[in-house]
């Protein structure tokens, strides 16, 4: 692609140093981005943990002979064995099956009704919808400024003033138990934080000269917000979204534990801990232990991934 080129006035030959011959095609640029990722050990460890859970969730039906609801009356509250590798709960249900089917709801599918579901986990959808709302509000508030910004941000501030867990409880109590309602609750809780982040990024980016240049071309405000500003804010937004998926999994666990998550008997990590906790002192901690470990590793994994990504992208700049 790059031969010798004219760079200066009246200039006929110039050898560009090899280092500036960077890949230009889209794929190679993405490959460069991935290499940045591989360079960070933190991000790689995080990514491996997350990918493990995504993998078991995706292929859950192939990885276990039992369904999560199948009860083995002969073996309630058992420890790990060859038949049930992680043990069983008080109704004799296989913990491994319940665990990986539980991961499915978190990361891979969003059940809309008894039978129908759409791809993308409950936690993922919760963050995605919150992102869309937050990005929209943040961009509008940050770019327009003035009274519009004032109204939007004060309203969001008011929402942030309510303790998160309380907000969750209120919303879930009002809407009732279902995966879709968990997504709605997570959207309402997550939007203000994302909007704040996007607004502060917008305030910075809108002072750049390429925004002035777009304005002098008479571009519309929508074009400037979504085409000129948003792509340059994506780095911090992606990192923040990673962290937020972690929080969302946490929130799902909490809701399930309090009995406000997915309706029973669906395999929900939070409600598994809530049920299992009664038997810890009775000598079978397994039912409470595994979902706790699952939530813990997944959240830690996402945090490591986000941290590594942030560190590496900062160095990259």
């Amino acid at each position: 692609m790059t031969e010798s080129q004219e760079t200066d006035m009246g200039e006929d030959r110039l050898s560009i140093p090899t280092e500036t011959r960077l890949p230009t095609s889209r794929i190679r640029r993405m490959w460069g981005g991935l290499q940045v990722l591989f360079a960070s050990r933190t991000a790689m460890v995080g990514l491996c943990i997350v990918l493990f859970w995504v993998f078991v969730a995706l292929f859950a039906p192939l990885l276990t002979p039992y369904t999560p609801l199948e009860q083995d009356w002969k073996a309630p509250n058992e420890g790990p064995s060859t038949r049930h590798i992680l043990g069983t709960d008080e109704l004799g249900r296989d913990l491994w099956s319940r665990l990986i089917y539980g991961a499915r709801v978190v990361l891979v599918i969003l059940p809309i009704s008894e039978t129908a579901w759409i791809p993308g986990g409950t936690a993922v959808w919760g963050v995605l919808v919150a992102l869309m709302a937050g990005i929209f509000l943040g961009l509008v508030g940050g770019y327009y400024g003035g009274w519009l910004d004032e109204v939007v941000m004060r309203a969001l501030d008011a929402m942030m003033a309510v303790p998160i867990i309380l907000l969750f409880l209120i919303i879930m109590a009002a809407l009732g138990q279902s995966a879709v309602n968990v997504v709605i609750a997570m959207t309402i809780v997550g939007t203000p934080g994302i909007a704040r982040l996007v607004r502060s990024l917008t305030l910075d980016i809108k002072t750049r000269e390429y925004i002035r240049s777009a304005e002098t071309r008479g571009e519309s405000a929508w074009y400037i917000m979504f085409v000129e500003i948003l792509p340059n804010a994506r780095g911090p937004i992606i990192v923040d979204a990673m962290l937020r998926v972690g929080y969302a999994i946490f929130a799902m666990g909490t809701l399930g534990f309090l009995g406000l998550g997915l309706p029973p008997p669906s395999p929900d990590w939070g409600s598994m801990v809530a049920k299992g906790r009664e038997f810890i002192l009775a000598g079978s901690p397994w039912a409470a232990l595994w979902p706790s470990v699952a939530i813990g590793t997944l959240v830690v994994g996402l945090n490591l991934f986000a941290d590594g990504l942030r560190e590496e992208s900062m160095r990259y700049q």
Partner: protein
């Protein structure tokens, strides 16, 4: 290799021999600086010049081994007052820094701690390094502040850094550096962040202090004018190597290294214009440290004199005269050597539009005002009852621009140059006055203007790093205005982009590049191409070259000139560099505090009669010629607040001439707005002082090489 010059008597204060510095990176060590040899004597200033990325600052930090965790000195020695500094412990160096060796940095706001009072910061230097009591230390500090001409030093001691101006901050930093009477003072671009008028005063101060304290100075700058003014000897740095060293006079008169010659040819001298001279840029760019050849001349790829021998071996320092060395095998007879690479000279056609006076008027501004509302802090204003205040950024400006001509706008920062341009293009709402562009009133903001008008007025921005959107490749960014204004049919957009890239002398390979893969000059070219994409009649350039290195700056100026010829566009060119503005413009407007104080043809502005403000600006410009004799006319104080501009003549608070020429010490200036006076040369001056008095003022600059 090592020479000990016979200029100053005694042993040198600092002697640097064969110094090499490297930074550890993930890809291994990167040699940033190598083969540095120089020494500085008592009471002498050594200037280090070169483009950015040439290792000037690295040397400064290397001397005190302040290179950060990944920097290290790989070879050579640094002897300070006879003692070796390389390999000393951190504790010993800490005693030296701030005591025997002091440093002054570019940005005073970052050198001073914003949350500590200046007095405490100053006294700490003394109490840390000496046994002085708090009280004695304070007195010494006040004295030193007086010495750097700080008004009201006792009061300054109690203030915080943000409460004094940038120029005053730099004075405090210099005072802090001088407190322990250091033997060596290292200054890293100390005036780069300051306005010309303030810069001139700080440079005077540095000169003064050097004579009084007999300090050895190392002065780092990229500005050839500044180095000519303050230094006795200089080193020219290129890509981490010293390519030429000698006395300032000698080097400016007889530059022997092709790079030095290139640098000197790429800056316009004050008073030169595009009509009679051309700038010759250095092609290419400084190679990154990892790509520098070890056994060849480092400058050869960009050199006009390069032959095969240049890449055969690393050239040694050739001695041309006593204390004048250059790292070039042809240094001794460079004057007579034929150039191996010819440049295409863009000069001849530049004179084109001189003989088209009285052309069609493209832009007319009458009594233009751009005010920014300022929220007052009182409770009453919270309820909308307070008095509305305005920052009068542009106040009553009138001017005309004819098709194909260039209007230069100069003035200190904060005088409203940028706001004027923003008002024109519709980024800021106009408060009052009329604005006529191509015969149509355009006093509304850009969102209310017709697309037809928008495309005729485009802008080139200052900062190459933020002028392009980092997320999109170059081609896409140039294509956007073409698509938007439908300058060409859809199918031909890509061809048009490539044509524009060619027009700004970039090859088609740049089409897919991202902005971060481009150098500053290249980014600026893309910015120009983007502005040209809609084929505008008027291009507004807001300091398009001030963030670029001199060699690149020349290329961009030439490019703009060429574009103006081919496209016949008119331009408004803002810059704070008076030499560049003079070179580039047909007409010039001098702005002060939101008003134009002098306007007219470029050559008339730079000769008497001057407006006193223009005179002061001109006498502050650093001229890259040590032989030039320049009047010392310094402005006192700062630009007053535009919130509450002085009554009468706005310049009266700082005017050095009114007491001299007007009765009553110029009482009239304080009360009455001055009249416009027109001269025969066709320029107008806003001043009470009669023209004939102003005309008798001596010209500001005498150069030996008078045009």
């Amino acid at each position: 290799m090592n020479d000990s010059s016979g200029i100053a008597p005694g042993a040198p204060v600092i002697e640097i021999e064969n110094l090499g510095i490297a930074y550890e990176t993930r890809k291994g060590d990167v040699q940033a600086v190598r083969n540095i040899n120089f020494s500085v004597h008592e009471g002498e200033t050594m200037g280090l010049v070169g483009e950015s990325g040439c290792g000037k600052s690295t040397i400064a930090f290397g001397i005190v081994n302040f290179l950060g965790p990944n920097g290290k000195i790989t070879e050579g020695s640094v002897r300070f007052q006879g003692n070796e500094l390389v390999g000393r412990s951190e504790a010993e160096l800490k005693r030296l820094r701030g005591d025997r060796i002091a440093m002054v940095y570019q940005d005073p706001m970052q050198a001073l701690n914003p949350s500590v009072r200046l007095g405490e910061q100053l006294t700490e230097v003394l109490t840390f390094h000496t046994d002085l009591s708090e009280h004695e230390a304070r007195e010494r500090c006040v004295e030193m502040l007086k010495r750097v001409y700080m008004p009201d030093p006792g009061d300054v001691m109690r203030r915080y850094p943000h409460q004094i101006s940038g120029g005053q901050q730099q004075r405090v930093v210099i005072a802090m550096a001088m407190l322990n009477n250091p033997a060596l003072l290292i200054m890293d671009e100390p005036t780069t962040a300051l306005d010309v008028t303030v810069e001139a005063a700080v440079l005077d101060l540095i000169e003064d202090l050097k004579n009084d304290f007999k300090t050895a100075n190392i002065f780092i700058t990229h500005n050839l004018g500044v180095v000519a003014r303050v230094s006795d000897r200089m080193c020219v740095m290129y890509a981490g190597e010293m390519v030429e060293r000698g006395s300032v006079r000698e080097i400016f008169q007889r530059p022997c290294h092709p790079y030095t010659r290139g640098l000197l040819a790429s800056v316009p001298k004050l008073g030169e214009s595009k009509l009679e001279s051309i700038l010759t840029p250095i092609r290419g760019r400084v190679p990154p440290p990892a790509d520098r050849p070890k056994d060849a001349c480092i400058f050869a790829p960009r050199c006009d004199y390069a032959t095969e021998e240049c890449t055969a071996a690393k050239p040694r320092l050739e001695e041309i005269e006593e204390d004048h060395v250059a790292r070039c095998i042809y240094a001794r007879h460079i004057d007579t050597r034929p150039r191996t690479a010819r440049r295409r000279l863009p000069g001849d056609a530049v004179t084109g539009h001189e003989d088209s006076p009285g052309g069609e008027r493209i832009l007319g501004i009458d009594h233009l005002k751009v005010y920014y509302p300022q929220e007052s802090q009182s409770i009453a204003s919270l309820f909308g009852l307070g008095e509305k205040k305005f920052v009068k950024a542009v106040d009553d400006v009138s001017l005309r621009l004819e098709r194909g001509r260039t209007l230069g706008v100069v003035g200190e920062s904060g005088c409203g140059k940028s706001t004027l341009v923003k008002g024109l293009i519709g980024l800021e709402p106009v408060t009052d006055g009329s604005l006529e562009f191509m015969g149509i009133d355009v006093d509304d903001t850009v969102s209310d203007r017709e697309t037809r008008l928008i495309r005729e007025m485009q802008m080139v921005f200052q900062n190459p790093d933020s002028t392009l959107n980092p997320s999109y490749p170059v081609g896409k960014q140039i294509a956007r205005p073409i698509k938007r204004f439908k300058t060409v049919p859809k199918k031909k957009v890509k061809d048009e982009v490539l044509r524009l890239l060619r027009a700004v002398r970039l090859s088609a390979a740049y089409y897919d590049r991202l902005p971060r893969q481009l150098s500053g000059g290249e980014k600026q070219r893309v910015g120009i191409a983007r502005a040209l994409a809609s084929r505008p009649d008027l291009i507004l350039c807001d300091e398009p070259v001030s963030a670029l290195d001199v060699s690149v700056q020349a290329a961009v100026i030439n490019l703009l000139l060429e574009i103006q010829q081919t496209f016949g566009s008119s331009m408004i060119f803002i810059a704070h560099d008076l030499s560049v503005v003079r070179f580039f413009s047909d007409d010039i407007a001098v702005m002060y505090l939101g008003q134009i104080v002098e306007i007219g043809p470029a050559d008339a502005i730079y000769e008497p009669p001057y407006h006193p403000y223009t005179e002061a600006l001109l006498s502050a410009v650093p001229i890259p010629d040590p032989e030039a004799v320049q009047k010392e006319l310094r402005l006192s104080g700062n630009v007053p607040s535009a919130l509450n501009p002085p009554s009468g003549c706005r310049f009266h608070t700082r005017c050095p001439r009114r007491a001299q020429f007007l009765p009553d010490g110029g009482k009239i200036c304080e009360t009455e707005t001055p009249p416009w006076q027109s001269t025969e040369k066709g320029h107008r001056i806003l001043c009470h002082i009669p023209l004939k008095d102003l005309a008798e003022i001596e010209p500001v600059v005498h150069t030996t090489a008078a045009a």
